[in-house]
């Protein structure tokens, strides 16, 4: 009963490449999120979306963009990958209620060489 899926578990890219990370949820959630997870820094919000074609910057949006053309899909784009973007990227989705659970994907481990 997988609810949030991410396109890749591991990804290796070169500096300067354009990188696409895809996320799909099957719970009809309005809200979707992209985080990066780094040791000692916890989860940091990159971007989120509360509706199709709507997006809001999180705490660390620099170097990233997002796309939400369909309700179930939320993409994270690294326009020109850099080594400091090597990280674990987590996608999540959530309903509208204040106490709704946020469901996470398995994560994509991105390495930029």
């Amino acid at each position: 009963d997988v609810k949030v899926t991410q396109s890749s578990r591991y990804l290796v890219k070169r500096t300067g490449e354009k990188v696409f990370l895809e996320c799909v949820q099957d719970m009809d959630h309005e809200n979707m999120f992209w985080y990066r997870q780094d040791p000692g820094l916890g989860l940091r919000l990159i971007y989120f979306s509360y509706d199709v074609k709507m997006k809001e910057k999180g705490d660390i949006p620099e170097g990233y963009s997002v796309s939400r053309e369909k309700k179930e899909r939320f993409s994270l784009i690294l326009e020109s990958a850099s080594t400091n973007q090597t990280s674990m990227y987590l996608c999540a989705s959530r309903g509208l209620g204040s106490f709704d659970e946020q469901f996470f994907g398995p994560g994509t481990r991105l390495t930029v060489l």
Partner: protein, 108 residues
């Protein structure tokens, strides 16, 4: 900005010992607080939410508004409790602000 502080990066205990993972939040009226857990090689998942006032896997957490704390407790730790634990709070637009996490290691 909303803040969540988890002062311990690592907590190491022996099996059967009590466990308390600390979480403090920045004050703002009526916070909505959660604990999430990530076991090795598994995805992050909800452990409990303060509104439920329930015990999950033997863990409880009490909201203390006076101390702005939401510490996670378990009277007798088990080896399978070893995981990374994140405290989180609602921050508007249905977003969550997470603490930096505490790694719990339970030794036999």
């Amino acid at each position: 900005a909303q803040r969540v502080t988890q002062p311990e990066k690592l907590l190491s205990v022996f099996k059967g010992a009590p466990v308390e993972l600390k979480c403090n939040y920045s004050y703002s009226g009526s916070p909505e607080l959660f604990w999430y857990v990530q076991y090795s090689r598994q995805r992050l998942q909800l452990l409990l939410r303060h509104i439920s006032r329930e015990s999950i896997k033997g863990f409880t957490a009490d909201l203390n508004k006076g101390e702005t704390s939401f510490h996670l407790k378990k009277p007798f730790a088990q080896e399978e409790d070893s995981a990374m634990y994140y405290c989180a709070r609602n921050s508007g637009y249905s977003t969550l602000t997470f603490g930096k996490g505490t790694m719990l290691l339970v030794s036999p």
